[in-house]
Each structure stands twice: as C-alpha cells, then as structure tokens.
C-alpha cells in the first residue's frame, strides 16, 4: 500500500526531527535553570557562549515544529522554553552595579530636572500652605489642634511655655526613645511621600492637597514658636534635616502631579502611553525621594540633638540644600559627552 509507506516515512522524518534536537533543548533547559537560580558568574565561558546559540536553536526548532508537527505538547514545551530564554536574554541584561551607577549619575538627576515645573508648583504650594497655616493659628489657636495631629505634635502646642518649647529645640524634650522616634518619623514621612506620589493619578488633586496640608503644618508649628520669640531658633532646628526632607516631599508631590496632569492632558500620545511614560519618570524620582528621606532621617537622628548651635544648624541645612540643588540641576554641566 502506497499510503502506508508514505505515512511511515513522514513518521520517520518527524521522529528524527525531535531526536536530533532533543539534546540541545535539554541542555538549554538545564543551563537556564542554573542561571535563573544563580548569578551568570557560575557559568564557564563556553556555557556563556552556548546560551544564546542554544536559545536560537530552540527558537528555530519552534518555528519548524509549528510548521510541520501536530504534536501540541511538543510545541507547548518549545514555546515555554523559548519564552524563558527570551526573558532571560532580553530581560534586565545589565549588572546591578551598573544599574545603580547609572541611577545616581544620570537617571535620578535627569528625572528631577524633567519634573522642574511640577517641583516649582509643589514648592509654591508648600509656601502658600505655610502662610495659610501661620495665619490660621495666629488668628485662632484652636486651629492648631485641627492642623497638627497630637501624636506628631510631641507636646508642643500654643499653650506651652517658652521653656518647654526651648527644651524641645535643644534637649530633645523628654523623649527617651528619640532615635526610635526618628525612625518612626522616617517611615511616616516616606509613607506621606508615597501617598503624595501614588494619589497623583487622580488628576493630581490629592497630591496638591497633601502638599498644601504639609505646608500648613509647617506654618502652624512656626507660628507657635514665633509667637514666643523662638522663630529663628525653630528655623535652625528644622533646617538641619528639614531642607532635605521638605525638598523630598515636594519632589514626591511633583511626581504625583506629573502623573495626574499627564493622564488628564495626554497630548499627542494615547492616554495609556502618556500615563506609562509619566509613571516611569515619576518612579525614578520617587526612589531618589526615598534616598533623600533616608538622608534626612540620618541627619535628624544624629545631628539634631548633638548639634545645638543655631549657626551650625543653619549651615548644615543650607549646605544640604545647596548640595541637592547642585546635584540635580548643575551636575550635568560637569559631565561631558551625550549626558
């Protein structure tokens, strides 16, 4: 029978297709399992060179199998294997050290520069909020409790005596858990920053409110001290870590606003593409915000209680601010090439 001979020949050639390549697939699978678990360093040079070759051979096997074979289990196996290889080879290819270096040298300052409009709005909102807070508490001190939560006030309120207020500035008040409190403040501030960022997608409105509220708290606190003639001293106490911290929160708000405004006004891009683009710039800036808040927490935990001279406090605060501005906005002038 001619048919029988024909089908047998087909069976033969398809069986040999698989037999000839099976060893390559198995080798590729074994290599992938190893590099997915451990660093590529553990591979020998030959194995590293073999990886892309084996990947291409798996891909071409897949193409052949799709065109000639009807074994769906085999095709599914090759698809899964090729996809794993694809994600490994075309995934995050650069090493962690290089990525961290790129982040600090290029990505972070670039993202912050990109957000300069939103950042100025954010800073302006903080100032407006501070003025409003100051004015509200000055006109009626009951506003103070409404603006600043008692847990954050730390015993400071408009009725406190000058001595109590002064002791908070120079002795760290009565808290024994000071560095613990600083760590708590760091996580609290970071949470505020994340919210200012994440809520931005609701057309930026919540971000604006959070930034305004933050400014408001600042103004209210300031009024309490200024009314007792301690305004200059409070400025020093705040500035040692405050310049870094407030800048960071302003940046977080700016990142949130960027997302919100891009979703509202996507321009030439589709709304999805605009949101994704804004989201990535904002996320890069946000990692930077975390780093800044960590700095602020360190300054607060170490510097604020040990350094009690107003001039030194102002110098450190001003120095940090100058450092950040130089790093974000002037740094690229130093870099040569296409940076």
């Amino acid at each position: 029978m001619t048919l029988q001979a024909g089908t047998d020949a087909v069976r033969q050639s398809l069986a040999s297709f698989r037999q000839e390549r099976e060893a390559d697939w198995k080798a590729f699978e074994a290599l992938l399992s190893r590099v997915e678990k451990r660093a590529p360093r553990t591979l020998s040079e030959d194995e590293l060179l073999a990886l892309p070759l084996l990947y291409r051979s798996a891909l071409s096997s897949l193409s052949v199998a799709r065109a000639t074979s009807l074994d769906s289990a085999l095709i599914a196996y090759l698809e899964a294997l090729s996809l794993r290889g694809y994600f490994y080879l075309y995934g995050a290819r650069r090493g962690l050290r290089q990525r961290v270096g790129d982040f600090f040298l290029r990505d972070w300052p670039a993202a912050v520069r990109d957000l300069w409009r939103e950042t100025s709005v954010s800073v302006a909102l903080t100032v407006v909020g501070a003025i409003a807070g100051y004015w509200l508490v000055a006109s009626d001190k009951r506003w103070y409790d409404a603006i600043i939560a008692p847990t954050l006030a730390g015993g400071r309120n408009p009725d406190s005596s000058v001595e109590v207020l002064r002791s908070v500035l120079y002795d760290g008040g009565s808290s024994h858990f000071l560095s613990g409190f600083a760590a708590y403040l760091f996580t609290h501030n970071t949470q505020v920053a994340i919210l200012a960022f994440a809520l931005g997608f609701a057309f930026a409105v919540p971000s604006v409110l959070i930034i305004l509220m933050n400014g408001c708290m600042l103004g209210a606190l300031f009024q309490v001290y200024a009314a007792k003639g301690l305004g200059f001293e409070l400025g020093g106490w705040l500035s040692i870590h405050g310049t870094t911290e407030l800048f960071a929160i302003a940046l977080a708000g700016a990142a949130g606003m960027r997302i919100g405004t891009r979703i509202a006004f996507p321009g030439e891009l589709t709304r999805m593409a605009a949101a994704a683009q804004a989201g990535r710039v904002a996320a890069t800036a946000m990692v930077g915000v975390m780093v800044m808040l960590l700095f602020a927490g360190l300054l607060e935990g170490i510097g604020r209680q040990t350094i009690t001279s107003d001039a030194t406090r102002y110098a450190i605060g001003g120095g940090m601010l100058a450092l950040w501005i130089a790093y974000f906005y002037l740094f690229r002038l130093v870099r040569h090439g296409n940076g």
Binding site: A15, R84, F177, I259, M272, R280
Partner: protein
C-alpha cells in the same frame, strides 16, 4: 468571573528580535489574586516572626538597651511592606515568591527588558490600591473609632482597585497601567513522550484507509492527544466508541487505548503529510 471565558482572549503576540512570535499568555485574575495572597501570607508570617523575636528581646533586655532593637524592628517592617515586592521583581526572575509559585512573572508591555523604574512604579501604586485603605481601617479599628461608614468606604476602595484588572482586556492593575507592564504566564513544562512513537505490537493490527483518516482534522487530533495523555479509562472508551462509529471500525471495549494510540499515530502522520504538501486541514468540517 476570575477567568476569561475564552482562554485565547488572553494571548498576546510577542515578536522576538529573531522574528518569532512567542505568543505570551496573560495571567488571569484568579492566578494573580492567589499569587498576591501567597505574598501577603509570607510578609505577615515574617512580620509576626520578627515581632515575636523583638518582644522577647525587649523582655530580656529592659527598655534602655532595647532601643536599637526597636529601630531595627521599625525599619524591618517598613522594608517588608515597601521593598519586598520591588526587590523580588527587580531580580532576574521578575517575580515575587508568590508569583513564582503560581508560574507568572512581570514583563514590559513593549517587549523590551523590564527596567527597575517600571518595577518601582507598579509597586508604589499598590500602596494606594490595597495597603492604604486596609491600614486606615486597621488603624481606626485599633484606636476604637472605626465606624461602619469608613470601614465600608475602605473596603469598597480596596475592592474597586483590586477588581480594576477585570475591566480591561489586558488585565492591568493601576500600577501596571502607569508602569507599562503586564503579568504573563511562564509555565515550566517538561518535554513529554511523543505519542506517535508508541510501539504497541497489538496496535500494528489496526490499519486505516485514507477515507477513515480523512474523517478528522487538526482540532480533533489535538483533542485526541489530550484524552490519550490524560489516560482516563472511561474518557478513552467513550472517544474510541465515537471514532469507531464514525469511521465504521469495530473495536473491543478492552482495546480502546490501543485503538486510539494507533489511530492517533496514523491520523497525525496523515495530517502532517498533508501539511508538508501545503494543505492544512483545520478540523473535520474542512474539505
């Protein structure tokens, strides 16, 4: 509701630089929910373990010496909540332990490599999607001021954001939307036996005429392959009877597996030969 009615709806093209379409399958909502719950269980278990250690440490050390421990604890809880997802998804597998267990990973929608800013963007958004409303409820409940209205509001908020991925065809969370990512399945499949290579001496008895082999197409062949691989006696018996009836072959009930193996082998060879000649017979209705 958790799964798409038609699984093919979740398949998206992914053209590699070599020009091969890998056809990724997006993870369905149920899979993602179980991955997330696994991660939450891991985080909570770690937090409880660390808290217990800290409590016993505090008891043994006294308040003064416990302060560094307290700081470490605060920072650890903070890291667990914010860094767990980012650190794992920025890694080589682009998946948290929960995602790994259910066999999915995060990928960039553009097909290019997943970058660290994408991972950060999608995970910071989780903060408002789930953690914010839940932690507000928890905080108010802890302070004893949780009223029905705010609890309902918080739950509705969390629910609305968790269900967001059911209302768009690419199964995107808000975080995925902003980061330009999606979650795809990366199953680990074993290479299984080729059914047409089964050498069964009894199966040699069966010979099929071209007319008998023309009765079915590729769709039916794949169904038959599924039945054979499942190896369920009653399913094979039913299928063998149906096929036997259709092609007019008499089979003893005991023989259904052998018969199906023989028919599968011959049908596949027949259809593959047609493939080589450029004739793709999609299913039994195709001429």
């Amino acid at each position: 509701m958790a799964t798409a009615r038609n699984p093919a709806e979740l398949i998206r093209p992914l053209i590699t630089p070599e020009g091969v379409d890998l056809r990724v399958k997006l993870a369905d909502a149920g899979t993602r929910a179980s991955a997330f719950l696994l991660d939450v269980v891991i985080i909570v278990a770690a937090a409880i373990a660390v808290t217990l250690v800290v409590i016993f440490g505090l008891g043994g050390l006294g308040v003064k010496e416990a302060e560094p421990l307290f700081i470490v604890w605060i920072i650890f809880i903070f890291l667990l909540r914010n860094v767990y997802f980012i650190a794992f998804e920025a890694g080589r597998r682009a998946a948290t332990p929960g995602k790994r267990i259910v066999g999915v990973r995060v990928a960039s929608r553009s097909g290019a490599g997943l970058t660290i800013d994408q991972v950060i963007a999608r995970n910071l958004m989780r903060e408002i999607e789930v953690f914010l409303p839940l932690s507000i409820i928890a905080a108010r409940g802890g302070a004893g001021v949780a009223d029905t209205l705010s609890t309902i509001f918080g739950l509705v908020w969390a629910l609305l954001f968790s269900l967001f991925l059911l209302f768009n065809r690419d199964r995107l969370r808000i975080g995925d939307l902003l980061a330009g990512t999606w979650v795809v399945e990366t199953p680990k499949l074993k290479l299984v036996e080729d059914l047409s290579l089964r050498k069964d001496p009894v199966a040699r008895r069966f010979h099929f005429s071209p007319a008998q082999l023309d009765a079915y197409g590729i769709a039916e062949l794949h169904k038959l392959e599924e039945v054979l691989r499942r190896d369920d006696y009653f399913a094979m018996k039913a299928v063998a009877e149906t096929i036997g009836h259709k092609i007019g072959a008499k089979i003893e009930p005991i023989d259904s597996r052998t018969f199906l193996t023989a028919y599968y082998g011959d049908l596949r060879a027949h259809l593959e030969r047609k493939l080589l000649l450029g004739n793709r017979k999609a299913d039994k209705y195709a001429r």
